[in-house]
């Protein structure tokens, strides 16, 4: 565990910030980065939900700069495939634009070990050579295991390894953060 500020006690779901508020903060932080030749790429599933919301929230800037977008399912690039196999459900990755020389902003819900981001970067490079890649995450929960960190983050919520934080979609389509006990011994 590399983080010094790792909490000793477990956080309760009720103590989590409101995901809709965090989304607003994320949109605000992203706004200045939306320039010509930028593209947004959401990582399944939470990152895609976030991206869809951001496309609406940032609509004027997106249209003005002709910002394109796509989605990635990194299942085929995960480093734990040999141990855990393929997810039962995979989604086709869809990158409907030319990655070559684009400034790409990856969007993920929760940043943890950095392994998902690594997989996403590997997959992106199979589409072409981007000019740059940055990462925007709703929450950084601490615990990274690779030299990868989000450039834009709406909240830092250090969590114990026994806890699993995920973004969920409520019945009314609002986004929310939820804590579940971590059943997987492997960290993702």
């Amino acid at each position: 565990m590399t983080d010094k500020n790792r909490p000793m006690t477990e956080l309760q779901s009720a103590q989590l910030p409101n995901a809709e508020h965090l989304l607003q903060a994320l949109a605000k932080a992203l706004q200045p980065l939306l320039k010509k030749n930028t593209a947004l790429v959401g990582i399944h599933s939470g990152g895609v939900w976030l991206m869809e919301r951001l496309l609406t929230l940032l609509e004027p800037a997106i249209t003005a700069n002709a910002i394109e977008h796509g989605t990635l399912d990194v299942s085929f690039y995960r480093d734990d495939y040999a141990k855990r196999g393929l997810k039962i459900e995979t989604h086709p990755s869809q990158i409907p634009f030319d990655v070559e020389n684009k400034h790409i902003i990856l969007i993920d819900d929760v940043f943890y070990t950095g392994r998902t981001t690594r997989a996403a970067m590997n997959e992106l490079f199979d589409y072409g050579r981007p000019a740059s890649i940055s990462l925007a995450a709703l929450v950084n929960r601490g615990g990274r295991e690779l030299p990868i960190a989000p450039q834009i983050v709406a909240a830092e919520i250090p969590l114990h390894a026994s806890q699993h934080l995920q973004l969920i979609k409520l019945a009314n389509d609002e986004l929310a953060l939820a804590l579940t006990p971590n059943h997987n011994s492997t960290r993702t």
């Binding site: 085929f76 997810k87 070990t113 929960r141 995920q166 993702t188």
Partner: protein, 328 residues
């Protein structure tokens, strides 16, 4: 009896036949293949899933298309691939099939793709190999050709997504066709309500109705209102004569022409597992016509084979809490 294709947790361990596979597994393969279709359209047509694994294509019977698509599928998953045409190797010197397999295991092969003229060959090998090795049946005798059946239903799903509302006709040499058997099992498992087989009595297995199909001997009657027309190859090399008067006669009665196709629904699709005998079971104008999806079948065959290999080689699929898997 324990299903040799599934492990104790119900995950796919070998792919030997579609018979006996639950709908859940069929859908898992089809959905995974959906994700692989896009890989072929990218600049780098590869994903790193099977990096460092060795896939061994053991073909005891010739098949250029099946072998090539398995080879491409394995390579797109970054596996190392060895393809052996066994009639040109040690078998002709008298080595037994299991000795051949044991030698390849000693060379650290991780997966076998088996094509053999004898029904049950892949089962025999699956029973023989240690637990970490996976076997895929690429066609055994008259018995089964599961990846062909899967790619056919995948193609149908792509063009006709409402499987619960389809009428499908399979036409031709059902008796000698492992493809037909696999297709029938896949279609009925996935809930296609009406599967018809159209063939002369001499080319139908006895009690074919027990597979849940409707039998027609008159092609014009059987084609009425179908959504999908699946032609089978007339298996010349399996025929010992006497079953049919002549190829020309067969074409007249059971060959698919534009005129007969017009009896099916106007948007019906035409399929054929290849290789085609033009002018025997299918007319060229139909094979190359706009209702034909014969070439998409070949393309989707690669995605299906990638999906099967990726699911098999992944060891234990995640026993994760639903939806909480690794989005971080």
């Amino acid at each position: 009896m324990q299903n040799p294709q599934l492990d104790s947790d119900g995950n796919l361990r070998h792919l030997l036949s579609i018979e006996g596979l639950p709908k859940r597994i069929l859908n898992q393969i089809l959905d995974t293949a959906e994700s692989f279709v896009g890989v072929a359209e990218r600049e780098v047509k590869k994903v790193p899933l099977l990096r460092g694994k060795t896939v061994c294509n053991l073909f005891f019977e010739n098949s250029t298309r099946t072998r090539t698509t398995f080879e491409i599928a394995a390579k797109r998953l970054s596996a190392d691939v060895i393809s052996l045409n066994v009639n040109t190797s040690s078998q002709s010197k008298g080595e037994t099939i299991l000795d051949t397999v044991d030698n390849l295991i000693a060379m650290h092969a991780d997966m076998f793709v088996i094509r053999h003229a004898q029904s049950g060959a892949a089962h025999l090998i699956a029973k023989h190999v240690p637990p970490h090795i996976h076997v895929i049946n690429a066609g055994d005798g008259r018995h089964s050709h599961p990846t062909q059946g899967l790619l056919d239903v995948f193609t149908i799903r792509k063009f006709k997504p409402e499987m619960h509302n389809l009428r499908v006709a399979i036409i031709g040499d059902v008796l000698h066709s492992r493809v037909a058997r696999s297709e029938i099992h896949a279609l009925t498992t996935l809930g296609v309500p009406e599967v018809r087989v159209i063939a002369p009595k001499t080319l139908l297995p006895s009690q074919v109705e027990k597979l849940g199909v409707h039998v027609y001997h008159d092609m014009r009657e059987g084609l009425k209102n179908v959504d999908v027309v699946m032609m089978l190859r007339l298996q010349n090399e399996r025929m010992n004569g006497a079953l049919l008067p002549s190829a020309q006669e067969y074409f007249k009665t059971y060959g698919l022409t534009q005129e007969k196709l017009a009896l099916a629904k106007p948007d019906a699709i035409v399929m054929h597992p290849g290789p085609m005998n033009r002018g025997v079971e299918i007319d060229s104008s139909v094979a190359d016509g706009k209702q034909s999806v014969i070439l998409p079948q070949v393309t989707y065959g690669i995605a299906i084979r990638m999906a099967v290999m990726a699911i098999l080689a992944g060891g234990q699929p995640a026993q994760q809490a639903p939806a909480s898997e690794g989005d971080q």
